[in-house]
């Protein structure tokens, strides 16, 4: 009886904890460890030195497809930036797509929790395309929806500003 009561209390306590706990996503630190599209290795966002632009896309999302050339151009024009594409399509489909479209940017697989990953960066609806800019492992810009050239410029500016505001070590 005593054990049952203790067990019940533990379950209730745990349930309260589960119901009421929240993630510390306000911390705006954001990281992931995702497989490369070819399955050769994992990559971690926090391992990147300098600014990192992460674009979530899918081949069945017309605005995603439309903005891929802009992202390639941005990467070419801004060598300080690392630009990664996270494919929400299954790997072989994504691979076939990037080959067909001559996409040269590094592409990652989505992992097991792409919606949670996007949510942690502020994308509550799971909408695509979705772009996150990071500097030193912290989010400096977020865009949900198709990127215009001006958006990329403002992301660059926002993250450059963020970098300038970082305390000198």
């Amino acid at each position: 009886m005593r054990m049952t009561t203790l067990l019940l209390r533990h379950v209730i306590g745990t349930a309260c904890w589960l119901l009421l706990t929240g993630a510390g996503s306000a911390d705006r630190a954001w990281d992931f460890n995702l497989p490369a599209l070819d399955g050769s290795h994992f990559v971690r966002a926090s391992s990147v030195q300098g600014p990192l632009l992460v674009n979530f896309w899918g081949s069945e999302c017309p605005p995603c497809v439309e903005e891929l050339p802009r992202l390639q151009a941005f990467a070419a024009d801004h060598p300080a930036w690392t630009v990664w594409l996270v494919a929400t399509d299954p790997a072989p489909m994504a691979r076939a797509f990037v080959e067909r479209r001559a996409v040269h940017l590094p592409v990652l697989r989505a992992g097991q929790n792409v919606s949670g990953l996007m949510r942690a960066a502020g994308n509550r609806d799971g909408g695509l395309p979705f772009t996150v800019a990071l500097r030193q492992g912290r989010i400096c810009a977020v865009r949900e929806g198709a990127l215009a050239p001006a958006d990329l410029a403002s992301i660059d500016a926002a993250c450059t500003t963020a970098a300038a505001q970082e305390p000198r070590r």
Partner: protein, 714 residues
């Protein structure tokens, strides 16, 4: 830990929660208003915003999973998945239904692009004819609670979502395999500014298979042709239009082997079979034991046709949906039409020709009211079945008489539905509540409320609770009970809608490398529709509700771990408890297991893609499901049938290699260890009086099979 500790935990958690909510309310850096966004159907059933949908999916099978499964049709795709399976209901004709939570397959509502355009007629053989080439994904909602505004959904919903191409191109898939498997499938798409069109087709054949040696098939042979045409227009009068037409033509025959349907029809005497083959077989080639007295039955003398089931099906189907955004309001129109024609010859039972029409019309609007998203709509479902039949049962008073509409019904079911979605606690809690009111011309009004709650404990942990009711309008379709055509009439005066009460809870954890879902489900079916053979009294078959409820409780847990960058391991376990009075459901159920274990290994690296699937099906209580207490079942040697089936593994392998973006090849082996029910126990059984039946079903009906193919993309 005492009560104080538990209270303290709650208080601390509450304080943490309050702090999180306050922090989350702050502006994110550099966020701008959303622009053009595509919300795609991705695998996570508990993803943010998941409850906004009209149907809350509990599982999704995406295009990649469809491809790597090697499935050529819907029933193959849905087999051996945790909480989901294809249920074989006839060894001779291969009727297969899709079961959710191991409830009877006919309780699953099938939809195409959200349009319910399938019926008991089309589900009987038609699910084998649904190709999967053109599908973007299949969304599954286990339980009525998650089905929200979907109609009926007694046990849940399966929604097939067609693929909207963004590229111009195509694919040809050619394969060949054992048991005469031949398949050619093509898919072409043309994308243009503002839309796309697709064309897909499949021709496929498979031999009937007898691995016992008695000349009687365990797997039905078929010849099948599918054609689908789809159009996607992004702006037509402000509407986004999705329309699709499908044509299906299939011939299948089980029992005798081969494809010479006319010869089988003509063979009505003598014995071409050998009943002395297989475990506990008959002592003689032509005769089996009559269990009640141990004598031998009269020699079988009905020819090939006596145990044949020949079914020709043609189906035309059109589905269209149109969506338009007007300010904050989304207007949706949906249309479905199907014409299903089945010519069937069931040796010894009846010649049966069914002609069915269905249509579905829906108009709904979704708008914002404050922070809530409200959906309201109306729909009209129409389903009629007309038939022409001739009983071939020599003991029937209707023997040899052609009858019109011995099996027939017309259902008109207008409905209203409303659904409200809102979020609280900074979108951590999503709530979706809906209610439908359907008014059927035969059964009257039916109200089905449903409620879903989704709580995001964190970005990687969420809980979903669903509660709701579902219903199904019972039909008198011949496939559910062949013998009804032997009776002068089917008395439907006591029939009631079948109703379900469902409660389910799921806990979902996912990070970059690990995803785990654990769920608990409870479903109780009241007024389970049964055919009662009352020919001895009233002379009729009675369509009436069961006297007692049928309840299934189940728990399952499925985890996928990304072991390496290229390999993922999936492990699943599900356990079931079935509660029902066996005697009340005699001859109406098919055996389901007490538990199942599923294992999967996917390796996808460079050009290679390897998949292994293993499923262990636990024992099945055959005595209970098949109501031995009402009708004892015996082998053809007079010994009792198994009361409990053995557990067994089924292992499937598949490998594909991509030579170039344009060419890939694949090879698959299904049921690698060649486990067959027929090695342990025959599908055939006899009752005490020696009457033969073919529905002792619990294990695989096809042994090891292999297929190899090539895919060409352009």
């Amino acid at each position: 830990m005492d009560g104080t500790t538990a209270a303290l935990q709650c208080a601390v958690a509450g304080a943490w929660f309050a702090a999180s909510v306050t922090a989350l309310a702050q502006e994110s850096p550099s966020e701008t208003p959303a622009q053009q966004v595509t919300v795609t159907g991705k695998p996570a059933a508990t993803q943010p915003g998941a409850l906004k949908a009209d149907v809350v999916k509990t599982e999704t099978i995406n295009a990649r999973e469809i491809e790597k499964s090697g499935a050529t049709n819907l029933t193959e795709l849905m087999s051996h998945r945790p909480g989901i399976d294809a249920q074989l209901e006839c060894s001779i004709c291969n009727v297969r239904n899709i079961t959710l939570n191991n409830l009877p397959g006919r309780f699953t509502t099938m939809m195409l692009d959200g349009v319910p355009i399938f019926s008991s007629v089309s589900n009987a053989h038609g699910l084998d004819m649904i190709g999967v080439n053109d599908l973007e994904r299949v969304d599954i909602s286990r339980g009525a609670g998650t089905s929200l505004i979907a109609p009926e959904s007694l046990g849940g919903t399966v929604n097939m979502v067609t693929k909207r191409p963004t590229d111009t191109g195509g694919e040809v898939d050619l394969s060949s395999g054992t048991f005469g498997h031949r398949r050619a499938a093509g898919y072409a798409s043309k994308a243009f500014t503002g839309g796309a069109v697709v064309l897909g087709g499949t021709v496929q054949r498979h031999d009937s298979v007898d691995q016992v040696g008695g000349g009687l098939s365990q797997y039905t042979g078929f010849e099948r042709a599918l054609l689908g045409i789809g159009a996607f227009i992004d702006d037509i009068g402000g509407f986004k239009l999705k329309a699709r037409f499908d044509y299906i033509d299939e011939k299948r025959m089980g029992g005798p082997l081969g494809r010479d349907y006319d010869a089988v029809r003509a063979s009505t005497s003598g014995n071409p079979f050998d009943f002395s083959k297989g475990p506990h077989a008959a002592p003689e080639r032509d005769r089996w034991v009559v269990p009640s007295d141990g004598t031998l039955a009269a020699p079988y003398d009905d020819g090939l046709f006596g145990l044949a089931q020949i079914i020709f099906t043609r189906r035309n189907q059109f589905v269209a949906t149109a969506d338009r955004q007007v300010g904050d309001t989304r207007v949706r129109l949906a249309l479905g039409y199907a014409r299903h024609h089945q010519d069937s010859w069931f040796g010894g039972d009846a010649d049966y020709f069914a002609d069915q029409q269905q249509y579905y019309l829906e108009a709904s609007a979704q708008t914002k009211l404050g922070s809530a998203l409200l959906t309201a709509g109306i729909n009209q479902r129409y389903e009629d079945l007309h038939s022409r039949s001739t009983s071939l049962d020599t003991s029937s008073p209707t023997f040899g008489i052609e009858r019109i509409d011995a099996d027939a019904y017309v259902y008109r079911t207008p409905a209203l539905f409303v659904q409200a979605y809102d979020t609280w606690f900074n979108e951590r809690l999503e709530v979706n509540a809906s209610v439908r009111y359907d008014r059927n011309n035969v059964f009257g009004g039916i109200t089905t409320p449903r409620l879903n709650l989704l709580w995001h404990h964190a970005d990687d942990l969420s809980s979903r609770l669903a509660i709701g009711r579902g219903f199904r309008l019972p039909t008198s379709f011949f496939e559910l009970e062949h013998a009804i055509l032997a009776a002068p009439a089917v008395d439907r005066s006591q029939a009631k809608p079948e109703r379900s009460r469902n409660l389910s809870y799921a806990l979902n954890y996912a990070d970059d490398r690990l995803a785990v879902v654990a769920s608990l489900n409870h479903t109780r079916i009241d007024d389970f529709a049964l055919f009662i053979d009352d020919t001895a009294n009233s002379g009729n078959f009675l369509l009436q509700p069961a006297r007692s409820p049928f309840t299934v409780d189940n728990a399952d847990v499925v985890g996928t771990w990304q072991v390496t960058a290229a390999s993922a391991l999936t492990v699943g376990y599900e356990v079931y408890r079935y509660r029902f009075e066996s005697i009340d459901f005699a001859n109406s159920l098919f055996a389901r297991p007490a538990y199942r274990v599923t294992l999967g290994l996917d390796h996808d690296s460079g050009p290679w893609d390897l998949n292994v699937r293993a499923t262990y099906t636990g024992p099945q209580d055959l005595a209970k499901f098949y109501a031995y207490a009402d009708t004892a079942r015996f082998n053809l040697d007079g010994t009792p049938k198994l009361a409990r089936s053995p557990g067994f593994w089924v292992v499937d392998l598949r490998a594909s290699f991509r030579w170039s973006p344009a060419v890939s090849a694949y090879f698959g082996v299904a049921n690698v260890f060649d486990y067959r029910q027929s090695r342990k126990e025959s599908f055939l059984w006899v009752d005490r009086d020696g009457n033969l039946d073919v529905t002792q079903l619990w294990g695989p009906n096809l042994g090891r099979s292999a297929v190899a193919g090539v895919k060409l993309a352009f």
